[in-house]
Symmetry: C2
Amino acid sequence: MNEIALQLRKFAKENHRLPSYSELAKMFGFASKNAAFKLVNKLVDAGILEKDHKGKLKLKGLGLPMVGYVQAGFPSPAEEELVDTLSLDDYLIQRPESSFLLKVTGDSMIDAGVMEGDIVIVEKGGNPKNNDIVLAQVDKKWTLKYFYKNGKIVKLIAANKNYPEIFPKEELTIGGIVTAVIRRYR
Amino acid sequence: MNEIALQLRKFAKENHRLPSYSELAKMFGFASKNAAFKLVNKLVDAGILEKDHKGKLKLKGLGLPMVGYVQAGFPSPAEEELVDTLSLDDYLIQRPESSFLLKVTGDSMIDAGVMEGDIVIVEKGGNPKNNDIVLAQVDKKWTLKYFYKNGKIVKLIAANKNYPEIFPKEELTIGGIVTAVIRRYR
DNA sequence: AATATAGGTGAACGAACGTTCACTTGTCAA
DNA sequence: TTGACAAGTGAACGTTCGTTCACCTATATT
């Protein structure tokens, strides 16, 4: 049952869509697409699949279990918002039309867990709040910094003891607010 | 032109598929689906869209620009593998069938940039190499640690000076290898 | 003034779509 | 042994699919 879902996800990964019933029949070795039809209906009942108002198929969920804290025996599933979010894209990128990806260079935010080589998602045009990580232009150089504002005074602080606090003089340019960090190993 | 791509991505986000030509005509206010057909062909020529062998539409790329290091003027696009990777799912999850998500508790890997509340993607069943971050069971408790092996001696090290090195006695259970970290702000 | 061109309409095509129905199995419980 | 049932076949249905064609404007170019 889960085997089937895996194959569907693989198909979706390659084709950006789910197969039709005739394609399903072919990939499962059925001679009749009605066999695929019945199989699909069972998956729908099991809550793995959904159907459009047009009958088009739609996968539910990301496919990965989300475990909360890991207990003595084995990981225990944790109910989370992410579980029924279908894709990490949707989870990480709220406003795709005004976001971009930035590969991190430098260690200015290392104590905030943002390391060199990480990819951050930056959202343009918002109003940064205190404690937000912003992409800011300081002395004609772009860097990541914590943003603080007290009255009219703006302060940019690196998450690294070796960097000084910065009080920009007028010419502060905010490139955007960091809304997410992703890092891949190997 | 890019406006259209945005609407397509929005549709794809909601429906997990791209619209048909009649749906396209409706969403753009065309009376004839042939108008949509011609529009789509221009997008294909522009490299924004692709077509199946069946004529089904397929979006190219993630939709977000990836900028390398940010220069004086404004971000400069950087060619990266991610750009033509269509989704962060594919980028972050290589083996969905043997991976799960884990919400990080504790600060044992804080110096590795893995903070409490982050979500890590854990891949089960692989053979950890030196320097990998593993989910390991130590004294019946699951924690994240750096993995080191020298001959027969396995060492687990936290990325946190306050934690001691651990030399497990036989009963070392590896839950999996951390392959990615994601963190969302706000 | 004549003409090419881009962008839209509307009808038509064969093919593929999702769905339904009647029928044939094999398997397991009563 | 019988009956129920799950699982697959094969044909058929109306609808929608992607695509093509002929035609109609406007707008811009020659």
